[in-house]
């Protein structure tokens, strides 16, 4: 069992699930935590979130859950504080801690159980347990008890991950511009403005091929890798020439050691493009050379009207003609103008994402779209 503890609840989580592997992260680092968890455990973290951000925060936490996983959430109880104040005719010692915030945590807020239930629903979570209990906290050297909500919620099955259907057709070589209308976004967090297309197509290829050993080139363990591991049960090794990144092989692809790992699939997820056109070709040929018969080379890359170096992203955008030459293909599927139109129509938020990265989206944008190539080793 894997557990993600947000904030300081490690000891409590360890006590409750002694056999589990526990990752911890700070409240503002949840998004960057890779992979999915059986439990997400949050002890008094939600009160650090602005009221208007609570639903999005809960959504994010829910997105870290595996299917059937549970969010365990502790949050201070407004009802307890209010009742305490009404019945004792004075504010409880922890009331200010609960309600008014303190100088270290000005965002503190407390919650009504009913409101929290609604927030959970809005965040796509199903509450299966909701109780109120007491916790203790040291305030000015004095141990005080305060009421808190303890809720357990599951991600709505409506968010269940649906994998692309396996095709019955034999795999053939293919070069194409990815069509956004054929993409059914997968719940994989990513920083790339267009990765929604890359990820869907790459996952589809892995499913159709059925290979269980993947070499992911140009990547540390990305969320895509964790997704493939989690849902397809594949073994993944990563190669990254940037020495500062903790990949399995911190070296150039050309310098990979021969350690007996023979991949069924070599995958370049929007990484091969970060080279000159000559090196793209070289890496493609080396990839094919490393594959055994029946192995699969898959890569997503940038396609534009003309081949050119794109400084902002430090990548080579390939023209359709050059893409054919580089990958030894005679034809490329997809109409660039029609597909650009879909980006302009903001299908899968592609226009919005592009604008958030590059600060503009003019009539001629995007400058490049996502291309993909699939080659089977004969």
């Amino acid at each position: 069992m894997r557990i993600l503890v947000i904030g300081d609840g490690f000891d409590l989580a360890k006590e409750q699930w002694p056999e589990a592997g526990i990752d911890t992260c700070k409240l503002n680092k949840v998004k960057s935590m890779p992979g999915l968890y059986d439990r997400v455990f949050s002890l008094n973290q939600l009160q650090m979130v602005y009221r208007q951000d609570i639903v999005d925060t809960l959504k994010l936490w829910g997105s870290k859950l595996k299917e059937g996983g549970e969010l365990h959430l502790f949050a201070p109880s407004f009802e307890w504080a209010a009742k305490h104040a009404i019945l004792s005719n004075k504010l409880p010692l922890l009331f200010s801690h609960h309600l008014e915030g303190d100088k270290d945590n000005p965002k503190r807020s407390i919650h009504l159980a009913r409101q929290l239930r609604v927030d959970m629903e809005d965040a796509g979570l199903r509450v299966t347990s909701a109780r109120v209990g007491l916790y203790t906290k040291l305030v000015e050297g004095e141990e005080c008890a305060a009421g808190q909500h303890y809720m357990i919620a599951r991600r709505k099955i409506g968010q269940r991950i649906v994998l692309p259907k396996k095709s019955n057709k034999p795999l053939t070589d293919e070069l194409l511009i990815l069509d956004p209308s054929k993409c059914d976004p997968l719940p994989i967090e990513s920083g790339g403005w267009n990765y929604v297309l890359d990820y869907y197509w790459l996952v589809e290829q892995v499913i159709n091929h059925g290979g269980k050993k993947i070499l992911d080139v140009g990547s540390l363990y990305s969320n895509l890798d964790f997704f493939l591991k989690e849902y397809l049960g594949v073994e993944i090794r990563t190669v990254e020439r940037n020495q500062s990144i903790g990949a399995d092989y911190s070296c150039d692809f050309s310098d990979l050691p021969d350690d007996g790992f023979i991949p069924d699939i070599i995958m370049w997820a929007s990484s091969i493009e970060h080279n000159s056109i000559e090196d793209i070709r070289r890496y493609y040929l080396e990839s094919m050379g490393r594959l055994k018969k029946g192995g699969l080379f898959i890569a997503t890359f940038a396609i534009s009207q003309k081949t050119a170096w794109h400084e902002a992203t430090k990548q080579t955008n390939l023209s359709m003609e050059d893409a054919k030459k580089v990958f030894d293909m005679e034809a490329i599927q997809g109409n660039l103008a029609e597909i650009k139109k879909m980006y302009q129509d903001n299908v899968h938020s592609l226009r919005s994402n592009y604008r958030s990265i590059f600060g503009k989206f003019d009539a001629s944008d995007p400058e490049y779209v996502v291309g993909a190539v699939r080659k089977v080793k004969r």
């Binding site: 109880s77 009802e79 307890w80 009404i86 019945l87 009504l112 159980a113 009913r114 929290l116 239930r117 629903e121 199903r126 509450v127 299966t128 347990s129 909701a130 109780r131 109120v132 909500h149 357990i152 599951r154 709505k156 099955i157 409506g158 269940r160 649906v162 059914d184």
Partner: protein, 270 residues
């Protein structure tokens, strides 16, 4: 992608006519179910003066459908539009019985119709909770109770109905039946209380009689009997106090009245 819709039947035992205060929200609820990914398989109603008989008839009809869930609505309660969806969500971890909360009809003393069983077999009302909590209890009123079909299937499998020699029938858990049961036998002690033990004779019915899920027995309401049977078969009973319902008299009695009942004696003005 969405999951398959949950299939439910509405079970409404009723007698007489219902006011618009009841049927307007009822229609709206039914009309909105499909938007909440709920498929309304059927509306099952029985309207004799015997509420246990009505509920048993409705349950039998429900078991003939392909619906997974039977949602009980009483003819004098108003339930929130989101009740079924919320209760289905609450039950998504495997709960088979979960209900909303409502109160007795006395406006000056509304008591939660949600009970905990005492050691002596009596029941006390839920006394202290925070709205929004989900609590395990022993019995509820039947309004706004979502029940999975396995509850009834398990009762059907584990209980048997016998004929009372003095008249009537009663369902018993199979484990409670020891020795033989005859189809026609009597003794002078029949019907007598001897040293505090009631000697009540039961015989095999002339032809098989269906198990009664609900029975009015020993001066207790049929819901108590149902929950005892369900719990005996291993099912747990939960109340989701975020689902607040009203009990109709000449007006709805609900959470507001309850708050007044609790806080007014404390001098708190609401």
């Amino acid at each position: 992608m969405t999951e398959n819709p949950s299939r439910i039947c509405l079970g409404i035992p009723s007698y007489g006519n219902q006011p618009s205060d009841w049927w307007v929200p009822m229609f709206r609820t039914a009309a909105l179910l499909h938007r909440q990914n709920i498929e309304l398989t059927d509306v099952l109603q029985y309207g004799t003066m015997m509420v246990d008989f009505n509920r048993n008839k409705i349950t039998r009809a429900f078991l003939e459908t392909e619906a997974e869930w039977l949602f009980w609505v009483d003819a004098d309660n108003i339930n929130p539009f989101s009740a079924v969806r919320r209760l289905l969500d609450t039950a998504c971890d495997g709960k088979t019985i979960v209900g909303g909360i409502y109160f007795s009809k006395k406006a000056d003393k509304p008591i939660p119709i949600a009970y905990l069983r005492e050691e002596n077999g009596t029941y006390r009302s839920l006394g202290d909770w925070e709205p929004g909590e989900i609590l395990e209890l022993d019995a509820l009123g039947m309004n706004c109770v979502l029940t999975h079909r396995t509850v009834y299937e398990d009762i059907d499998d584990n209980y048997v109905t016998l004929t009372r020699l003095a008249g009537g029938t009663q369902s018993f858990h199979r484990e409670d039946i020891q020795g033989d049961i005859f189809d026609n036998q009597s003794a002078p002690t029949d019907g007598k209380i001897i040293n505090g033990v009631l000697h009540e004779r039961f015989i095999l019915p002339e032809k098989p009689v269906e198990v009664k899920f609900f029975e009015l027995h020993a001066g207790r309401t049929e819901d108590i009997n149902f929950f005892e049977k369900a719990k005996r078969c291993g099912h747990k009973v939960y109340v989701d106090t975020s689902v607040e319902c009203e009990h109709l008299t000449w007006r709805g009695i609900g959470m507001d009245e309850y708050r007044h009942f609790v806080y007014s004696p404390l001098g708190v003005e609401l």
